[in-house]
Amino acid sequence: MPPGSDSPAGDRPAGDRLAADRPEPGQPEEVFRLHPLTPIALGGKILGVLVLVTLLGLVDGTGSGKTAVIWRTAIFGGVAVLLVLRGVIVVFVTSYHLLGGELRIDSGLLQKQSKRVRLNRVQSVDVLEPLSARIFGLAEVKVTTAGSQRASIRLRFLAAPVAHQLRADLLARSSGTTDQAPEAPERPLLRVPHQQLVRAQLLQLVSWRLLLLAIGPVLAVVGNNNGHNGTAIVGVSLFISLGLALLLTLWRQINTFWDFTVGDTVDGLRIRHGLLSTSRQTVPPGRIQAVLIHQPLSWRPFGWAQVRMNVAGYGRSDSSGHQTVLIPVADKDYAEAFVGWLLGGVDLAHVPLTRPPRRAALRVPGWWRYELAGANDRLFVARHGMLSRTIDVVPHERTQSLRLTAGPWQRALGLATVRLDSTRGPVKTRAAHRDATEAREMLDRQIDRARAARQARQVG
């Protein structure tokens, strides 16, 4: 029983078709089918490996007898064919219908499924080009809604130009117009220089994980000196595998965030990045729920920071956290100015912040000085962290629920923590270890501010 029609979950079960939801007749329905090359792109890496193995087997199978070659080829080739066949069926049975302010997806071979998405509930539209698809000139369109289940709809794959047109179309329809819309013109805001990105990612490797890297050589030296060859070998292989893992992480980050640009369009913020696999996200205005500016310890000497955001629906499908990155690296002052601009032209430095009382030192020695929090009439801002630093920013009209918590140790000291709940994502805002009475006042004020902001938004 969703209270009100405003539940952001746009998709409904197929049976639940309200007459009121039907778009007016007479509007043209646009039907999309997946690109015929989809099965190959979907198979991606696995398919590539299978084909390679099969071919190699055919070429260099002379030594090991004919039947072995035939078997090997049949098994690997068979799996590859099955993979492609599955993809072909998916392409064959799936169709996308764009009608009025609604996107409908029909799929399923035996069990038919029909899923509908109300486009005014869309939280973001992304065009992704993984390498396996990019080779064939294909792209995925990913529509994120804030629904409680299956938050994103992935159209895999369409021809790249079709995908871009569909993105523009979906965004235009989500904001109300249903005409064929050209891609909205873009005002470039920022581009992360390659050099800065690479250096920042290298610096990010400088962390406690490097200590793990030292275990290998230590084992090797100790093992070698004591004549334990086994230990030495374990040490060397540990070093190599950990080193490779680190390099792989580095490569992934650089590959993902290469050529990172942010632009401003009427459709919303447009975020583009990627070296081999590219991604273009569009987040419509007002869909950003909360933002954080994070400075890892190793970046602080350079004054760099990262900006990440909460967008409803993103947190669920995004295990790697790449989707929530708004700026992978930028100067901290720029990042603060950017976030201030993004959230309605507020100077973050001028938001009055307070600090926990001195006795909080008994609960968090040292760190208590770095738990600043406060609000102005638009935003709630919290700065915390002694070594790495984080600034959390939540607009009042985006706060969900609020909490006041206190553990036994805190209560013995008369302290309490205020927490602001936002949608799932990297930003978790709190004013920690406040004086209990002050914390309650802060909570009550925050409730009032959030209510006023919601009402102002509904009137305006």
Binding site: P3, A146, A312, R398, S401, L402, L404, T423, R424, R457
Partner: protein, 172 residues
């Protein structure tokens, strides 16, 4: 969260009180009855151990039994404290929920932010005629749940909340 977390300690603390002039709606005492039954069931193996030990060594049996009694007495009162810590208050624009005796918690859910109100009950709760009401918002960390309600109270609360949610709906 409806678990047994935060049940140790005493109920007090001004920061977690209701606004002046209002009082918490309390949950059914049957919640404590249920938890005490669960407690007794959980301690049954200990009783078995005591009986077994009595044949082997009288002193050990007495020691274990005494420890069991102490644990039981302490947990018994802790359940009572936890019961008294639960409370909810329907205000004009939001619902306040509090619980926890040692780890105190006060959650404020604006009606305009509610997406879903759930009434549910586990098999044991159902046996004791209890249900819980859970409020969902777009935030995953919202954990506003009132447990230990009787079904009629819970359904009335759900209906009121749903109506209020519709009246206040603010989208995201």
């Amino acid at each position: 969260m409806c678990g047994l977390g935060g049940r140790f300690g005493h109920v007090s603390g001004d920061a977690f009180a209701t606004p002046t002039g209002t009082t918490w709606s309390r949950v059914s005492p049957r919640l404590a009855t249920m938890r005490r039954w669960l407690l007794v069931v959980a301690l049954l193996p200990l009783a078995g151990l005591v009986v077994g030990l009595a044949f082997a060594s009288g002193i050990a049996a007495v020691v274990v039994a005494a420890a069991g009694v102490v644990v039981l007495a302490w947990a018994w009162t802790a359940v009572g404290r936890n019961l008294r810590s639960w409370g909810y208050l329907e205000r004009d624009d939001d619902l306040l929920v509090t619980h926890g005796a040692a780890f105190k918690k006060l959650t404020v859910v604006p009606y305009g932010r509610m997406q879903l109100v759930d009434v549910k009950a586990g098999p044991i709760e159902r046996g004791f005629g209890l249900v819980r009401v859970k409020l969902h918002t777009a935030a995953a960390t919202t954990d506003a749940e009132v447990c230990g309600l009787t079904p009629d109270v819970a359904e009335a609360l759900r209906d009121r909340l749903t109506a209020l949610g519709e009246a206040h709906a603010a989208g995201l």
